[in-house]
Amino acid sequence: MERDRRGEMAIAAARLLRDGERVLVGVGLPNLAANIARRVHAPNLVLVYESGVIDARPTRPPLSIGDPDLVRTSLAVVPILDLFSQYLQPGWIDVGLLGGAQVDRRGNLNSTVIGSYDHPTVRLAGSGGAADIASFAKRTVVLLPQSLERFPARIDFVTSPGHPLGLRRERGPDAVVTDLGVFDFDADGEMRLAATYEGVSAEDVQVRCGWRLRVARDLGVVPSPTPAELDALRSLGGQGRA
């Protein structure tokens, strides 16, 4: 039976969100995670989208961050400039949920280019608000599937800054959720494997990581999805098998 990796990732990320927090989300997995959290354990989670939407209660998976459904169910929609300058920059966003093409051990994210910037192998979409969110959300949670290409020793381009060398800055990456496990960040700002899904070993993760991975001494197991979490996942259009 194949694992529902997307569903597991969304549920694992959802658990990192606390009730009442303001969460800046994108479409896809981040949106799924935030909405699972809102339905399961964080009914007062405030969903914010970089399109300016504040406190949306989407009735369907949004197809873009400016989806009319987000607007129609929102508390308010503010100009993008206000969202970034008056809400994100001063620290009123608790969590940013971010994806990316690559991540490194400092939590730096690449969503700009594979290969060189001037002669790219694959030109990606670029920052959007990601660099701003990674800089100024109180903490960020990164979601991406795990592979050697996505966890290289050196990413091709730093779009969104992680922790500087040797130093964990006050805001910045706090967790990375992949289809193999969940990472946190050490006091010196380096990524560390904190837990794996059932049946996944630290070695399985190391094989898909381009640097020598730090592993928590008390490496945990990501608890299996609860029925409530699976219900929420299903109702949100995720696959959600047990």
Partner: protein, 291 residues
Amino acid sequence: MTAFLTVQEAVSRYVGDGDAIYLAGFTHLIPFAFGHEIIRQRRRHLTLCRATPDLVYDQMIAAGVADTLVFSYAGNPGVGLLQAFRRAVEHGELALEEYTHFELVARLAAGAADLPFWPLRSLDSDLSARRPRPRVKSPFGPEEVAVVPALRPDVTLVHAHCADEMGNIYAWGLLGEVREAALAARRVLVSVEEVRPGDGLRAERDHLLLPAFRVESVSVAPWGAHPSYVHGVYDRDTAAYTEWDRISRDAGATSEWLDAFVHGVPDRAGYLSLLQPERLRALKEAAEHGA
């Protein structure tokens, strides 16, 4: 006085080769009618500015109107990447001025306020390594902040719900960076779903997007934002965004699409005549039910 012109007349009169233009609208109210007309009139060497290039710039880039792209997120929202943009960049055919969303809208804010720069906080990244965000020291303390330069498009093109007969422009729903992009421009051209006669719109003062004295011309263009949306009028044509992903992966198919849907029709009415009436009806119904 604001002029009432056709989309063709407005583009012909006010958009010149080599201009820096901004097609405003963040997922919502994207002025596709203007974008297609610029392709149709075969403008060249444009600097296209837009936070989210979206399909409209992917089509314009494919049509060869652009030398430079000023942007912050070149994705196909909800679908993936912009394929014509990718091809142009991967083949080195398009110069890029790349920012974050915050930086790009801050550049517009500076333009709108007639200031040379706008201050914001910014951490180092490979974006700033390639194009430094200079720091300015605060005269009031030890702090430094970054600044980005004003962006002042020659022309900003806007699509909105409606105008009155004076040229005052009204819009509802998500406005994104539309107002700043318009106020930053030397000239603002607007297309609207309809012009409403009389003074009735004055009661909608909380939805005034732009006063007539900031608007060069108004053009009536129903469905002027399709496949983007007009809040409460018609919904986003998500299928069109997915179809474009398929079409645009192939340069030949892209050219054929442009020939059929842009060059092959004289105007927006011609474009609409190529779409199934049921498709448009469904988008209208979705917007009305949702609203």
